[in-house]
């Protein structure tokens, strides 16, 4: 299991290649999700975290999800700092014997990261800066997963 919080730009395809690099014979499915910085009115995003605390909180949840979903391996990469439109913000990959567990784990982890991981996100727009907080929909989605409560 690898969890990485980084201020550096990363390539999701390289993360996937490294994640699958070992080649395990007991794996039957790998599901991934990549969250991207959407452009339009947003010039760039700024993501802040709480060093030490953020890593520990995500690791605790990731271990619970990995156990509940019987994952063989898991990788989470999350950017911080200034992120430009088109760049990846987050990458989550789950390796499991079967696809249903891999899909479910990625979805549970993303719903958790959206509402409960210690990150603070600010959109820099033409009109100024705006802090982004979880929507009611984000919170409802998160409540569906018992392993991340």
């Amino acid at each position: 299991m690898q969890i990485r919080i980084t201020p550096d730009r990363f390539a999701p395809e390289q993360e996937l290649a490294m994640f699958l690099g070992d080649g395990r014979e007991d794996a039957g499915a790998c599901a991934t999700f990549t969250g991207l910085c959407r452009g339009g009115a947003v010039r760039w995003l700024e993501l802040e975290h709480y060093p030490g605390f953020t890593e520990a909180r995500i690791a605790a949840i990731a271990e619970r999800v990995a156990e509940a979903r019987k994952l063989l391996d898991l990788r989470i990469v999350h950017r911080t700092g200034r992120i430009a439109p088109g760049e990846a913000i987050v990458f989550v990959a789950a390796l499991a014997p079967h696809r249903s567990e891999a899909f479910a784990a990625v979805e549970a982890l993303m719903d958790y990261l959206k509402t409960d991981a210690p990150f603070w996100k600010r959109e820099m727009r033409e009109t100024g800066a705006a802090w982004i907080e979880p929507t009611a929909q984000d919170i409802t989605r998160r409540a569906r997963h018992k392993e991340t409560r």
């Binding site: 993501l47 030490g52 605390f53 987050v90 959206k114 210690p118 990150f119 603070w120 802090w131 907080e133």
Partner: protein, 81 residues
């Protein structure tokens, strides 16, 4: 000596990311009162129910004791991904 950390929009209201206090009070209520004295807007923002608090990197209740507290973090709603 305790270090107080402000994240997200709370940093804007506090005007800084961190500050050091010789005396931080017996519990979180006392600390919020102390911080309100210099900055009424910060006091109000810290009392918002959506703000979470960690003491020494452990989540705590809003009225937690600050005995042994070295680092107190005030966190507005979290949003990653």
């Amino acid at each position: 000596m305790a270090r107080i950390l402000f994240f997200g929009r709370l940093r804007d209201v506090a005007g800084c990311a961190a500050l050091e206090l010789e005396q931080c009070g017996a519990d979180l209520g006392a600390l919020r009162d102390l911080l309100t004295r210099d900055n009424a807007a910060l006091g109000a923002a810290l009392r918002d129910q959506s703000v979470r608090v960690a003491v020494n990197q452990e989540m705590v209740a809003h009225d937690a004791s600050l005995e042994g507290a070295r680092e107190i973090a005030f966190m507005p709603p979290l949003s990653g991904g």
